[in-house]
């Protein structure tokens, strides 16, 4: 009950605060238009935001360790989050600043119009790409290498069960988590990338073909895609993976290859839809009609007239599809049917390391390990989404 009481008091306080804020604003600024036309909801929003900020500051400066000697994990995590956010913002800012200084006139111009979120996204994507490509060089140990000590805590502090050799600790059978994280970039990102490319190749070419030719081919493909899309993709993927796992056993082909194919096919239906829609929009343009009436062949129409105009939406879609594929693979691996051990993979790692989370209250650093792998997935998808968001915004803005 006290919780509810507290909540009500805060709410009333905020409401009064909002009223005072607006009234005060009007008085101080001599009834400037901003305060004069402000709705009560808006004033409430401002006051609420301010209250949130004050609370965050207060919480941030709470002591790290409670009087009882137990670490105040909530504060620790909160500080990490805030610090991480600030560091990310600074990194993005510096990156954008550099981008504006260095490079050709074209890239400079691109960076000038770039919001900070997009700069952050690009930076993260570059880092991931570098880590993925050079995983073998960067990682201190091999991904399947079983080292002496199992269950070493993260943080590298021997007093807390850590080991400086393994900064992020080791897992249940003694593999270095940091190395596995780095190799995970190679495996998870690489496989997702290949899958997306494959999906685009299949879906894109069929989609454009359907849009250009129309007629029975279009009907056939579109109905087929309708059927495939009527089944939720993760469910469908799981079902097919069950089948594939049997085949993989019999044929001796790694399950991962089946997974790539299955997800590529499922995802190509979405790409097909988009490619067809974009294609149809372009096909009705008069310049396509002019080319058709000129007697141009199909190849010229698709590659010279349609494709260059479809690039922008397709590129944005590539980003979104990549995220989706990436998350699907991660989910499959998390459920235990995706990328198979001993390959390091973030989804699998989260599942394996999940029990560590229960130590959070005593050893904040230990609880982080499973979240690191999950966070690595989230960070990349967030980054890609930021960039795609910006691209879509830009292309829609150009039209106006």
């Amino acid at each position: 009950m006290s919780g509810l009481m507290f909540f009500a008091i805060v709410l009333i306080g905020l409401l009064i605060g909002a009223y005072v804020f607006r009234l005060g604003g009007q008085a101080v600024t001599g009834n400037a238009p901003k305060f004069r036309d402000m709705s009560f909801g808006e004033a409430f929003g401002f006051v609420f935001g301010a209250a949130l900020l004050v609370w965050a500051l207060y919480y941030y400066f709470q002591p790290k360790v409670l009087d009882t000697g137990v670490p105040n994990a909530g504060v620790v995590f909160f500080r990490w989050a805030v610090q991480g956010f600030i560091i990310a913002a600074i990194a993005a800012f510096v990156f954008r600043f550099l981008g504006r200084m260095v490079g050709t006139e074209g890239t400079k111009k691109l960076f000038r119009s770039m919001p900070l979120t997009a700069a952050f996204g690009i930076l993260v994507i570059i880092i991931y790409a570098v880590v993925a490509v050079f995983a073998g060089v960067i990682a201190p140990y091999g991904q399947a290498e079983i080292l002496g000590a199992a269950n070493v805590m993260a943080g590298g502090d021997p007093a807390l069960g850590g080991n400086p050799d393994y900064p992020l600790g080791t897992d249940q059978i003694g593999r270095d988590i940091l190395s596995r994280l780095i190799f995970g970039a190679q495996n998870t990102v690489g496989i997702a990338f290949i899958t997306t490319c494959l999906a685009f190749f299949i879906g894109g070419s069929l989609g454009f073909l359907a849009a250009t030719l129309q007629g029975w081919l279009d009907q056939l493909l579109s109905r087929g895609v309708d059927v495939l899309m009527a089944i939720p993709s993760l469910i469908f993927a799981l079902l097919l993976m069950t089948i594939a796992s049997v085949w993989a056993n019999e044929l001796g082909i790694p399950l991962t290859i089946f997974m790539v194919l299955i997800i590529a096919v499922i995802d190509s239906t979405r790409v097909y839809r988009l490619a067809r829609a974009v294609g149809l929009n372009i096909v009705v343009m008069d310049y396509i009609e002019a080319a058709k009436l000129r007697g141009e062949g199909l190849g010229y129409l698709v590659f010279k007239e349609i494709l260059p105009n479809a690039m922008a939406p397709l590129l944005a879609e590539f980003g979104l599809r990549f995220c989706f594929v990436f998350l699907t693979i991660a989910a499959l691996s998390f459920l235990g049917v995706g990328i198979q051990p001993p390959l390091a993979d973030w989804g699998t790692m989260v599942r394996d390391l999940a029990p560590f989370i229960n130590f959070a209250a005593f050893a904040p650093t230990a609880a982080v390990t499973p979240l690191l792998a999950a966070g690595a997935i989230a960070l990349l998808t967030v980054a890609v989404n930021f960039v795609v968001d910006w691209m879509l915004h830009k292309s829609s803005g150009l039209k106006e």
């Binding site: 004069r36 036309d37 119009s113 008069d286 310049y287 002019a290 080319a291 009436l293 007697g295």
Partner: protein
């Protein structure tokens, strides 16, 4: 006369690419009670922006940076949102260009009509329903008692436009802003909307700002006219003075557009084979016939204008000729030889002979290709020229369309103005070295001055190259200036055809007559005279329905 609206030094800026660029650079405007001001200018002149600003309103991404807009002593620029709300709809009302988009699709017309009076406490609901019906009757809407109880999509465009005028009148405002209210309408519909607006504005002695790009329309509606060019005022004078004695060069040039007349080409010998001969075409989309037994000939070196309102089948005829829509019956002959109905079955040479220029240059040119590539492709495709020879031919074509080759060869269409794009479209057609070109409303998306240039260019090319044109248009002024022969279409049928000289002298077919008489003229008395002559019930849709 007392002053109603005073705008002083109005400056408006628009936001693009993160910076504020000026749209209006300091315009003054004065309007007395009961006076109608015509705001005229080409696209991008800032007419609508001023119209909205005189209501103290700006669209998103636009702001008033300086100046005052004083309505009856209240500065709308500085007024609070609440003050503005109490004026808008009640004392200042707005009639938008597209009535179909400006009526809320979810409510009945009458509910939207009564919203103003009830919200501003001018009248009760039942009272304003009665008033609405009365207004509908005054505006001569069919079934005034019932039409208000329909949803917007159930009412035609011309009727919606009048219903919107009625809605603007619902609180008997002192000032109405008309923002191109008839631009989207056909000429025969336009005339009855014009008549209705003028009548009701006079009856209630309402002041109005009438925004349009059509000089002849504004001549009927306005007491005085202000000419705008790129956010600046060019000149202002009362209507008669402005029409008879414009001062500024720009205004004069606008007037001069209407005077371009291409001399009539000599008639072909009676036994000449026509370049294109359309023989008894009937065509259908799906199962409904949209063309019925259409026939006409186009002779070498001549221009045939195909005229009609939207939905009359002009463009469908063009699609039949090009082979995009194979006709259900009838045939197309080229130089006396029958062409295959489907374009895919025609030979490369047959395709080359007939070219097309499109209405929207924006969609007719591939935005990802340079001008050189766009024109060079048919040169290479048909003429087989490559490398330097191709370049040479493209330069020659660019010269023909009066664009400097070295400057435009590597540009993208988005870097060109509307008129320049249309010229590139012409060059692409010429590159095939055709005998016959279909021009589909090539000037209707362009400002008058630019359109004039395109027409002159087409006429010159015809003289030099002996081309035949099929000129599709809804604009009779264009027909007058360029056509040798005219084909009038309505509902997929040819109503009348013949040489231009015959077509523009009476007696006409009744529909041709209606079409011709509905085109506004520059004479300010034209509408009054016409109404006197024909009677209010014999114009527009009412007259069409009688046929």
């Amino acid at each position: 006369m007392s002053r109603l609206l005073t705008i002083k030094g109005l400056k408006i800026e628009g936001r693009s690419d993160e910076t504020w660029n000026p749209i209006i650079n300091g315009v003054d405007l004065e309007l007395n009670k009961g006076e109608v001001l015509g705001l005229i200018g080409e696209s991008g002149a800032g007419k609508s922006t001023i119209g909205l600003a005189s209501m103290g309103y700006t669209r998103d991404g636009v702001r008033i940076s300086d100046g005052t807009v004083e309505f009856d002593g209240i500065d709308l620029v500085k007024a609070s949102a609440a003050t503005k709300r109490s004026l808008l709809g009640k004392r200042i009302a707005y009639v938008a260009q597209s009535a179909a988009a400006s009526f809320n699709p979810a409510h009945k017309l009458i509910d939207q009509h009564t919203e103003g009076p009830t919200q501003h406490n001018v009248a009760g609901r039942s009272e304003s329903v009665q008033d609405g019906i009365e207004l509908y009757r005054k505006l001569r809407l069919p079934n005034p008692d019932e039409i208000g109880f329909r949803y917007p999509h159930q009412v035609s465009g011309g009727q919606l436009q009048r219903a919107m005028t009625a809605m603007a009148m619902s609180c008997r405002p002192d000032l109405i802003i008309f923002d191109e209210p008839t631009t989207a309408l056909d000429v025969t519909t336009q005339i009855e909307v014009l008549a209705a607006i003028r009548e009701i504005v006079e009856e209630f002695d309402t002041a109005a700002i009438y925004i349009t790009h059509d000089l002849a329309v504004v001549a009927q509606m306005a007491d005085k006219i202000k000419v705008l060019l790129r956010g600046d005022e060019v000149e202002e004078a009362d209507t008669r003075t402005m029409l008879s004695a414009p001062k500024e060069d720009y205004t004069k040039s606008l007037w001069a557009v209407r005077e371009f007349q291409r001399p009539q080409q000599p008639s072909p010998p009676a036994d000449a084979t026509p370049v294109v001969s359309v023989r008894n075409i009937t065509a259908a989309y799906g199962t409904t016939d949209v063309l019925h037994d259409v026939s006409f000939d186009i002779h070498a070196g001549r221009t045939v204008a195909v005229v009609g309102e939207s939905g009359s089948g002009k463009s469908t005829t063009a699609r039949c000729i090009t082979g995009l829509l194979p006709p259900r019956m009838g045939e197309i002959a080229f130089d006396g030889k029958v062409l295959p109905a489907d374009y895919r079955k025609r030979t490369k040479d047959q395709l080359r002979q007939a070219q097309m220029i499109y209405q929207m240059a924006d969609t007719a040119l591939n935005p990802r290709k340079t001008i050189g590539e766009i024109i060079g492709r048919p040169v290479q495709f048909y003429g087989g020229l490559t490398g330097a020879k191709r370049r040479e031919r493209v330069n020659e074509l660019l010269d023909q369309i009066e664009l400097e080759p070295s400057q435009y060869y590597n540009r993208l269409p988005s870097e060109l103005s509307g008129g320049q794009k249309q010229r590139v479209g012409i060059a692409r057609a010429l590159a095939a070295d055709p005998k016959f070109i279909i021009c589909d409303e090539v000037t209707s998306a362009l400002d008058q001055l630019v359109a004039e240039g395109i027409l002159r260019l087409l006429a010159d090319l015809q003289d030099n190259l002996g081309l035949s044109y099929m000129f599709i248009t809804h604009d009779l002024a264009t027909v007058k200036s360029i056509a040798d022969e005219v084909v009038v279409m309505k509902d997929g049928k040819v109503v009348e055809q013949g040489p231009k000289t015959e077509m523009f002298t009476p007696p006409h077919h009744a529909y041709t007559d209606l079409l011709l008489s509905s085109v506004p003229e520059m004479d300010p008395d034209w509408l009054s005279d016409l109404l006197k002559e024909r009677g209010v019930d014999n114009i527009g849709d009412a007259a069409v329905d009688k046929m």
